[in-house]
């Protein structure tokens, strides 16, 4: 029995020790307790307790404010360690929305690593702190964002017209104002001096006066008394129509998330939608990106990605070298600079979604999903840079790789000077079935007829080459098809394939091509060639390749027409 007594004694001591350790660990050794102990407000030390923001409609109980105390409602005056600092002014009140809706992370947790989601088995870790605006994509679908050039141009117009003298936008501008005039808890901070022009940072969502120009003009013309007279008359003057359109574009993009808008513009300028689909429009070569920012990092392959196992890091590495990160990927190396890669990653992380109760659905999301409005502006430049430039190049001059079919140069002067607008529109709409060019029409790629027309017009205006005038009928060639077949086999099939299926040269047996091309186009292209490509003009004598007479060319065309 003595042994049992000693065993009981030892076990009991151990148990008591373990219980004491557990009590300390569970109660006293908590990170949030230590942090709150350092906090103090004007009335003295703050009560140390678990704090949370609860919103049953959004389904959140965010305990982030147990450490980030000053971000909780009613606690703004708490000071202490940097963790306790208050949230900078943002569009949505954390007291209502909580933290995780925008930032991600595990709101239910009270330990640091768990709360930030840097643990296994939490599928939505926090967004990087410098990419907080990516969280806007959870609920919002920012409408009518142009590409980078158009955005920069419109911002330039905004700044050149001195709008920033009276209006604050994204923290800049205004005249001698205090820190921020964003609505904070429903009260507007009064301006000290200067004109009381509204803050335009969020007019893209809240809407702006459609008659603002007329009203400004009226004020500028009519205001003559008081201290505000002078600025109006000297700062505001008539604005040309094109500039007003640019200003409208710019104001539409002011949604309180300038970094995200920049990132989205960057995305729309890199041609990503040529291969990827976002929200139902885009190409099918690559994966659908609509919810790619929601991916569970635990399910992603980090074998080739050095550094932290976060979605941001994966995307950065992927943009640098897609084939190295994703085995079997067809995505080419984009050759972007580091800051551009970071911007694109920023946008990719914003491609998320969350189930929301109806009262929280933002209007922009409704406009996109219910009313079919576009997230990009439907001008030709944006559509070209978003959909076409990935394959056809930013300058439209195409891309060639040895041994592979080329992506044609659509801005080639020889091409544009011979091709009709109808040919261009049909090619865009129907593509080249069986080849790399997808059909971009409503059924397949999702582009609308007016958008396709805008792209065609963009190509025309950018190059300055108008559509040709062709008095001849569409089919006028009369030639010997059998002779043409022999010529084709000996001269053309090397680049265009034995049956015209295309090799290094385009496919000539494409139904869409043959239906939309006129005989004039074919004859002239064969005869005069296309500068900058391997297609030589066969009318021109050359020592290194056969030369064709005009009737021989017509014979070849007649042969093509038998297909």
């Amino acid at each position: 029995m003595q042994k049992n007594k000693y065993l009981l004694l030892a076990s009991s001591f151990t148990t008591l020790l373990l219980l004491a350790t557990a009590a300390r660990q569970e109660h006293f050794a908590k990170e949030w307790r230590n942090i709150q102990d350092q906090g103090h407000s004007e009335e003295g030390p703050i009560p140390v307790q678990l704090r949370q923001i609860v919103n049953p409609a959004l389904g959140i109980s965010d305990r982030c404010v147990s450490c980030h105390v000053a971000m909780a409602p009613g606690e703004e005056l708490v000071a202490g360690s940097p963790v306790l600092h208050r949230h900078r002014p943002v569009a949505h009140d954390p007291a209502e929305y909580g933290c995780t809706v925008c930032h991600g992370g595990q709101g239910l947790a009270t330990a640091r690593a768990d709360a930030h989601g840097d643990v296994d088995f939490w599928p939505q870790p926090m967004l990087p702190p410098d990419m907080g605006e990516a969280g806007c994509g959870t609920c919002h679908a920012h409408v009518a964002i142009p590409n980078v050039d158009a955005l920069a141009a419109s911002r330039g117009v905004f700044e050149r017209r001195s709008c920033l003298a009276c209006h604050r936008v994204d923290g800049r501008g205004g005249v001698a104002r205090r820190a921020s005039t964003l609505r904070r808890r429903g009260t507007r901070q009064p301006a000290q001096v200067g004109l009381d022009g509204p803050d335009l940072s969020r007019v893209g969502t809240t809407g702006f006066n459609a008659r603002w120009y007329e009203d400004h003009l009226a004020k500028s013309a009519g205001e003559s008394t008081g201290e505000t007279a002078a600025p109006w008359a000297s700062l505001f003057g008539p604005i040309a129509d094109a500039d007003r359109a640019a200003l409208r574009t710019y104001l539409t993009t002011r949604v309180g998330a300038p970094d995200l808008v920049e990132a989205k513009a960057m995305f729309l300028s890199t041609g990503c939608l040529g291969c990827h689909t976002v929200s139902g429009v885009g190409g099918e070569e690559g994966p659908d990106l609509t919810r790619v920012g929601d991916k569970d990092p635990g399910q992603v392959d980090f074998a080739q990605v050095p550094g932290s196992r976060s979605l941001a890091n994966w995307n950065l590495e992927h943009f640098r070298s897609p084939g190295a990160v994703a085995a079997g990927s067809q995505m080419p190396v984009l050759g972007l600079a580091e800051d551009q890669i970071r911007t694109l990653t920023f946008y990719v992380l914003s491609l998320r979604r969350r189930d929301l109760p109806g009262s929280y659905l933002p209007t922009d999301r409704l406009r996109v999903t219910r009313f079919g409005e576009r997230e990009f502006t439907s001008d030709g430049a944006t559509i070209f840079s978003a959909f076409c430039s990935g394959c056809h190049g930013v300058d439209g001059m195409g891309r060639r790789s040895p041994g592979l079919p080329a992506f044609p140069s659509v801005a080639n002067p020889d091409f544009l000077s011979r091709v009709s607008d109808d040919f261009l529109a049909t090619t865009v709409r129907l593509g080249r079935p069986g080849r790399r060019m997808p059909a971009w029409g409503q059924i397949a790629g999702g582009l609308r007829p007016d958008e396709i027309t805008a792209v065609v017009r963009y190509l025309r205006t950018r190059s300055g080459i108008a559509a040709p005038f062709d008095p001849k009928p569409r089919r006028w060639v009369k030639g010997d098809a059998r002779a043409g077949e022999r010529l084709f086999a000996s001269i053309c099939s090397g680049c265009h394939g034995k049956t015209g299926q295309g090799a290094e040269g385009p496919a000539l047996n494409s139904r869409v091509l043959l239906d939309s091309a006129t005989d004039t186009y074919l004859v002239e292209t064969i005869g005069s060639g296309r500068r900058g490509t391997a297609m030589a003009g066969f009318l021109t004598p050359s020592p290194v390749r056969p030369t064709l007479a005009p009737d021989e060319i017509e014979a070849v065309v007649a042969f093509l027409r038998t297909w």
Partner: protein
Amino acid sequence: MTSEATSRSALSEFADNLRAAPRRIRETAFRSGTPNTDRTRSTFVFGNVFLHLHSVRVHRWSLRWLTTAGLGIASVAAFLITLVTGVLLMFYYKPYPDVAYASIKDIHFVVPTGRFMRNIHRWAANVMVVTVILHMARVFYTAAYRSPREFNWLIGLALFVTTLGLSFTGYLLPWDQLAFWATTIGANIAQSPREVTDALGVTDIFDPGGIQRLLLLGSDTVGPEALIRFYLLHVMILPLVLTTLLAVHVWRIRKDGGLAKPVDADDRLGPLSQTYPVFTEAPAKTYHLAAVVRGRTEVVNRGPEQTVPSMPHLFYAELAVAMLTVAVCLALALVSDAPLKEVANPLVPENPAKAPWYFLGLQELVSFSAFMGGIGIPAIVILGLALIPYLDREDQQTGDWFGGPGGWRLVQRSIVVGLGSVLALEAVAIRFGWLREWFPDIPQLVVTLVNPATILTLVYGAYSVWLMRRHASARAGALGLFTCFLCGFLVLTIIGTYFRGPNWVFYWSPADWPRH
């Protein structure tokens, strides 16, 4: 006496009573008094509703560590720990799919000591399964199932199955990926008779598999019905069943004359280290007449010399084991968190989806044949275990470790045979595949009947028969078979836990698993 005097004496009597009340409360609650004489030690035990499940005196052989290793008490202690922590968890856990996971997160992060309690609960449950298995092995190897203890062995088997049931029903409650898919696996194993009825084409008219699965899940899929059903089983039905069976199990020990011991146990024990006078006072009446029984009890014709009072000897032993179990569970709970993966997502299966560890040996067999691994082999195992006391009716060396013809030597050789055959069969199956890989069109029934699981069973069975004939003893055969069974269980569980990856393919290490 004047009326004044009577009223004063009534008042002073009242005052006296009030002053004496604390002592009287103590005395009426604990009527047997301090247990410092044999009589008070006896009444301490049989006068207490909780303690009188124990006998008043216990044989010294039963108190030896080597006799039982305290495994039975450890199992009960682990059960009590899960009971207490489980009740505490019930204050915060919500058994509905939409809120179950969040309630576990709340327990972990918000409820004071919630994380600790949940960890203890998880570890105590695992400790309980382990000690129950070890206890069964101990009882078998000391042949303590022999007459008159056959039925207690059956009760013990029922307790074992109930323990596994408790563990399995509790596994679903966190409603995370681990729980959801483990339960899906378990439900599909319950459906495995379909392998046979489909092959025979009779599923339309006779579908025990489908009925079992429906009973288990209350629906076609793992959902709210399954969760509430498992919760009810886990917190009410199975604990009540376990407690009832436990009461019968311990009561049976009393009626069987205490724990099994060798016939010469008295002689093998040395003299008492301290003299214990047996009766120190003139007995007025030490025992009530409880019952008149037919036949003789085990303790007739033997004096109580080698028995000691349960209070304090047995209780110190039990308390020591219980406290040790508590300490072990607490230590494990402090260093290792109970797992919790992502919230259950029916659209994203875990790959590999694994059952709880004690079922992984079965799952390994299921990977060869669903019916054999899920129903056939377990039924054979349970039936075999249940029949042991009825097939081995010898009486040599009852109460001795590895008692019986062959002894420890036989057990050692059986370990070799057991490990060797299971490793060889697994190696063949892993390296070369099995019938389905060699003959893709082979009928399912052939695979059901000829697969590593059935072959292993036959090998073990044949070995056991060979032992029986060689030693002319059923006990020898039982020793061999049980040892082989333990080895097989161990190896299969280890393979299922550590060496099976996505799609149940064999990998030497999780680092080799393919990532998508």
